[in-house]
């Protein structure tokens, strides 16, 4: 893919993010900023998940557990070694990457739906371990994070500043994800997704690349975990159990995993839709569930890809890229 063409996919994302960075000028409410920050933190993890799912075709239903690893790493190194925000980002990224690699190892032996079930079980297992970790992990009540966050002497604990920081992290992860998609590495991952046996016969080390994709998505998840821990200032195991994992999968499915705009759209839609429709948490969860089912059955490429495809069909033009279902085409 020529650079000019591939830049075209990154540009809309960056323009959107610049617009988002200007939002504080409109003096939005604190509630809006908080929602936007949580959405942004999710989007970072989603960019990682889209490398794993969209590019490599491996679905992880336990991804929130990796975010949890990042968050707990940040909280524990802050407590035990007095490590601050900035140093804990690489530490958490490394920890989450290691755990992601461990979760990825079974993918060499187990594939298809069995592996998806396994990732789900891994996520559950992790939250049980955190709950039973005693004082070290703070058991069911979790851990507090007290360290202040500062950049060049400027306190990041002001909500607007934290918002801007999260937006820039989202921009970084979008760029990183774009760089991966348009690299030789990304092309290898897609080759594995499309036909694992063919890829292997061309000399691609399928196992190493699969685990590599897990590691990459783990780094994203770890970083988003640190941002989450420092934003909420308190973390507990239930935040990283099965529901958050299902929500992450929902967001990536709604947005579409293969387009660069997908994770951004998914994260924002899922965060703001209940607010827009004025739903209480219980109703909004029902809505999420219904959306997930509807997207899987009706728009397996995600909402954005569906809209794009509809646009092209409406104007009777051929889409730039063939749109096959992103979800799964097993059924051998």
């Amino acid at each position: 893919m020529p650079v000019s063409n591939s830049l075209r996919s990154l540009l809309p994302v960056l323009i959107l993010l610049v617009l988002f960075a200007l939002v504080p000028l409109l003096s939005p409410s604190n509630r809006f900023l908080s929602l936007a920050i949580s959405a942004g933190i999710n989007v970072i993890a989603l960019y990682g998940l889209s490398v794993l799912f969209g590019q490599t075709g491996i679905l992880s239903m336990g991804h929130a557990a990796l975010v949890g690893i990042g968050a707990y790493t940040a909280a524990i190194v802050a407590r035990d070694f007095n490590v601050g925000f900035w140093l804990s980002i690489p530490l958490a990224g490394i920890m989450a990457a290691i755990v992601a690699a461990l979760i990825g190892v079974p993918s060499l032996r187990v594939s298809g739906h069995h592996f998806v079930i396994m990732t789900f079980a891994f996520g559950q297992l992790l939250s049980i371990i955190l709950t039973n970790g005693g004082d070290y992990t703070g058991a069911a009540s979790g851990l507090d994070v007290q360290q202040p966050v500062a950049l060049f002497g400027l306190s990041m604990d002001v909500l607007t500043h934290y918002y801007l920081m999260v937006v820039s992290f989202v921009a970084l992860s979008a760029i990183a994800s774009w760089a991966i998609i348009n690299s030789r590495y990304g092309r290898t991952l897609r080759a594995i997704r499309e036909n694992e046996k063919l890829a292997a016969s061309l000399g691609i080390n399928v196992g190493r690349h699969k685990i590599g994709a897990f590691v990459v998505s783990g780094i994203f998840a770890g970083v988003s975990g640190v941002l989450l821990a420092y934003f909420l200032r308190h973390i507990s195991p239930s935040q990283f159990a099965s529901f958050p994992s299902i929500y992450l999968a929902l967001m990536v499915m709604i947005g579409g995993a293969r387009l660069l705009l997908g994770p951004l759209a998914g994260g924002i839609l899922v965060a703001f839709l209940p607010e827009l429709l004025n739903l209480d948490p219980v109703q909004s969860r029902i809505l999420y569930g219904v959306c997930l089912i509807a997207v899987i059955l009706l728009l397996p490429n995600g909402l954005i890809a569906g809209i794009v495809a509809g646009w092209y069909r409406f104007f009777d033009r051929r889409p730039v890229q063939p749109n096959e279902p992103a979800v799964e085409r097993e059924g051998k």
Binding site: L59, M61, H113, I128, I129, V282, I293, I296
Partner: protein
């Protein structure tokens, strides 16, 4: 020694409920290929129906039959409305079922809040034999489960419908050519499994109070047991269910109650890794055409 016997007995009654779920899972997953993680929510709905019926003065025995019927109807509607579209892509079915978990749980919360729900015990007699207290309600649960599982076993292995079902798992196309209505059998298995989950829910609430979130952990145990026992293998599911129930009962009795849920997850991961067809052999899901 008394503690040991007591915990084994307690473990057996939990094992019964797990086995009922696992039998449903092993039939549905093993024979139709539908991965329904919302199966635990079917169980929870069964509990809620029993609770509603009993609180409105219906007798417990009628209530569990009602629970079975309601959940079976729900299973029929969901299979026809959702899961039939995912038959060729099991992973999509799995994701649909995860969405369904959220929907069912929160619909229940919406109408009947998230608090614990319990019913008065249908049987109150407690026998005491050599220092071991045997609650008759637990014995009742064990017996009902044993009877129902035995009936299912005979139906699947001995009746001509069971034979037709197994034939359609073995080779859908040939079975269809022989005049077996394969689609209808898939629906039938799903409805049967759902009814068993409904029954399990009714029995569960007779033992413990339940919440709308009870299904989540129960279904993982059901899947763990079904996978350990080998998919589609009823005997395997019963044996694995007994083992898991007793291990959980013992570990709760000896002070590791926080870890009881971890065994099923851990075991399931190990079994999928090293024995994908289960310890006792089974299908690894039906062969897709």
């Amino acid at each position: 020694m008394d503690v040991l016997l007591q915990q084994i007995l307690n473990g057996l009654s939990i094992a019964s409920v797990i086995t009922l779920i696992a039998v449903g899972v092993t039939l549905i997953f093993g024979l139709t290929g539908i991965i329904n993680f919302a199966h635990g929510e079917f169980l929870m709905v069964g509990s809620i129906v029993t609770w509603l019926a009993v609180s409105n003065g219906v007798s417990f025995w009628l209530a569990i039959i009602l629970a079975m019927i309601v959940v079976a109807v729900m299973g029929f509607a969901l299979e026809r409305g959702l899961f039939r579209f995912t038959l060729e892509r099991p992973t999509n079915g799995f994701i649909v079922s995860l969405g369904l978990i959220i929907v069912l749980q929160h619909i229940v919360i919406l109408f009947w809040n998230a608090n614990q729900k319990s019913i008065p015990r249908p049987l109150n007699t407690v026998w005491e034999i050599g220092g071991v207290r045997i609650a008759s309600v637990r014995v009742m649960v064990i017996f009902i489960t044993a009877a129902v599982v035995a009936m299912t076993f005979v139906a699947i292995t001995r009746s001509r419908y069971g034979r037709a079902l197994r034939a359609s798992v073995e080779d859908r196309d040939t079975a269809a050519l022989m005049g077996i209505p394969v689609r209808r059998y898939i629906t039938g298995v799903f409805v049967l499994g759902s009814a068993l989950a409904g029954l399990g829910g009714g029995l569960l609430i007779a033992l413990f109070p339940i919440t709308p979130f009870t299904g989540g952990t129960m279904v993982m145990k059901g899947f763990a047991v079904a996978l350990i026992g080998g998919l589609g293998n009823l005997t395997g599911a019963v044996v694995a269910g007994l083992i898991l129930g007793i291990v959980e009962g013992l570990s709760a009795g000896y002070g590791f109650s926080g870890w009881t849920d971890a065994y099923s997850f851990g075991l399931m991961i190990l079994v999928l890794l090293f024995r994908p067809n289960g310890l006792f052999g089974g299908t690894s899901g039906p062969k897709m055409a």
